[in-house]
């Protein structure tokens, strides 16, 4: 029995999860929510994490019924992410590692999402669409690397949605993307928006600029409602994501798709991806918000796989980094 605790705080969520041999024992988290119209600033986000990390840690241990001495290793997010929040969490990981005398494992955040998705859904070797506030990548596994076949060449899709929510002054509680999704359900009138696919890559900056320039005027003249704009935005950006995922699948000969990352819990995106899969006899794997959105268990799970393949990180290498590519990590735990 191997038990790994994982600490995640690369963006506006602080989470601690405990995994034992593929079982999630606990996975509490807190989210830093800013007022409508505002994003989260690294400094303030770090303060939020610092204020809550110990209570979340205690909650994780209590809920799992685990004693620190039961833990075999401590996994934490090395990157990518915002520097100040990453550092705040890494400090806690290093401290408990020395207090409890347990090894550390530095985990790539994106790999955490992929491995958690594989664990929860049972997907064997999927083409992965990883979509969140900071990331948009289409990934497939090949020869000991998660290789990036397609990605955004500018904004992440979640960032595009978040920033549009700010234009409309939608609430950030529980997340701007969730509120766009709810609004979009009431949308009827489709506004054609720029559609930008380059091979397996996508670009969202043009769509955002287009809406930034026109949204308020379209609303004022009552040509479109807020719901119509949310609907049109979702339909356009998700169609781009599904199309490029399909391109990657056709290119790799893959018959499985896994959606992960915060935007991945959007039901409309899952529905569209599901239809695409149906049309080509493929299978879709998706998870709900508890595992799509950043959480501690995903870092614990990636850490668990690394630990079992013999990897730990010496204290001197437990620095964090804002830039850390998915394809920089040697995948020692898969054939």
């Amino acid at each position: 029995m191997v038990m790994v605790i994982g600490l995640e705080g690369s963006a506006n969520k602080i989470g601690v999860g405990i995994i034992q041999d593929g079982k999630v024992l606990s996975n509490p988290r807190r989210t830093y929510i800013t007022p409508p119209g505002q994003g989260f600033i690294p400094h303030d986000t770090a303060k939020h994490h610092q204020a809550h990390v110990l209570e979340v840690l205690q909650e994780a241990l209590a809920e799992a019924g685990a004693d620190p001495q039961d833990v075999d290793a401590i996994a934490f997010t090395k990157g990518p992410g915002m520097a100040a929040p990453l550092i705040s969490v890494a400090v806690v990981a290093r401290t408990i590692s020395q207090l409890w005398n347990k090894p550390l494992i530095a985990v790539n955040h994106c790999i955490g999402h992929i491995e958690m998705g594989r664990l929860v859904t049972g997907a064997e070797n999927p083409t992965v669409l990883y979509v969140s506030g900071g990331n948009t990548q289409i990934i497939a596994y090949l020869e000991r690397k998660y290789r990036i076949f397609g990605e955004t060449i500018d904004l992440a899709v979640g960032n595009c949605l978040d920033r549009f929510a700010r234009i409309l002054m939608l609430s950030n509680d529980p997340s701007p993307g969730y509120n766009i999704e709810q609004m979009a359900k009431k949308g009827k009138k489709y506004l054609p928006l720029p559609y930008c696919v380059k091979g397996m890559d996508v670009s969202f900056s043009g769509i955002l600029s287009y809406l930034e320039e026109r949204a308020n005027k379209l609303l004022k003249t009552q040509q479109y409602t807020k719901a119509d704009l949310c609907f049109s935005l979702q339909e356009t950006v998700f169609a781009m994501l599904v199309e490029t995922t399909e391109r990657a699948m056709a290119h790799c000969g893959s018959q499985e798709v896994l959606i992960c990352g915060g935007v991945g819990c959007n039901i409309r995106l899952q529905e569209m991806m599901g239809k695409m899969c149906e049309e080509r006899g493929a299978k879709l794997y998706a998870t709900d918000e508890s595992f799509c959105i950043d959480n501690g268990a995903m870092i614990a799970q990636a850490g668990y796989l690394m630990y079992n393949s013999g990897l730990t990180t010496p204290l001197s290498d437990t620095w964090v980094t804002q830039r850390f590519r998915t394809d920089d990590v040697p995948v020692t735990w898969r054939e």
Partner: protein, 227 residues
């Protein structure tokens, strides 16, 4: 059914289904861009028509410059079908590389480097005529027997455009570079050789494209990702 003939599903690509059939005595491939149920109908019709137009134009344009592509026999916007010349026994460069590597030939062998050169020269020719492919991958390049001497046949021009700017040509090469590196391990030298050929045979404008490519590689949040 097409012209009363039976047709056989060959494969389902990313953009549509490919059928093999006969057309006025020719062996042809019918590419059917079926309506994608996941897309909003307005968006679906718009994209399907734009892609069909782009594909038919670019295929014909390429041929007029001596770049080998399937001949376009018919374009039917009502059925969203395009009838294309079929190349018997063709393989994608992707599968050719897989087979070659399986037979223990490395990506740095003369056969492979020669292939890289031929791709580089072909892209110079295409770009010097301002044709942007838009989705260059090793799946979108075909070889016919004998494979190691074959002309390279370019297919799948749905994302193509006509543009003279170095920017669009650089992004075209960037898409190809990424596709090769992610699909085929240990191809760093192969890609470098391909791009060097492009740069050295394409004159001034090719040098500008490569210069731009170096900027495209560094751009945006490509190397920065969090969330």
């Amino acid at each position: 059914m097409l012209n009363g003939m039976d047709r056989e599903l060959v494969t389902q690509g990313a953009e549509g289904r490919l059928y093999a059939t006969e057309w006025l005595g020719h062996s042809v491939i019918v590419k059917h861009r079926f309506s994608k149920q996941y897309r909003h109908p307005d968006l679906d019709i718009y994209i399907t028509n734009e892609r069909m137009k782009a594909e038919a134009r670019a295929l014909t344009r390429c041929r007029s410059y001596g770049i080998k592509t399937p001949a376009v026999y018919d374009v039917d916007f009502n059925k969203s079908e395009i009838v294309l010349e079929k190349f018997t026994d063709s393989v994608t460069i992707r599968n050719f590389i897989y087979e070659t590597v399986k037979n223990k030939l490395t990506m740095d062998s003369p056969v492979m480097l020669n292939m890289a050169e031929r791709i580089g020269k072909l892209l110079v020719k295409m770009h010097s005529n301002n044709i942007i492919h838009g989705d260059l991958t090793t799946s979108n390049m075909l070889l016919v027997p004998p494979y190691d001497l074959s002309d390279i046949i370019l297919i799948d021009f749905g994302l193509s455009s006509v543009d003279e700017r170095a920017e669009d040509k650089a992004v075209d090469l960037y898409v190809l570079e990424r596709a090769i590196l992610s699909t085929h391990p240990n191809t760093e030298h192969f890609v470098a050789h391909l791009l060097a050929t492009y740069e050295n045979t394409g004159g001034e404008s090719a040098r500008d494209v490569i210069k731009r490519l170096n900027e495209v590689r560094l751009r945006g949040r490509k190397k920065l990702c969090f969330g």
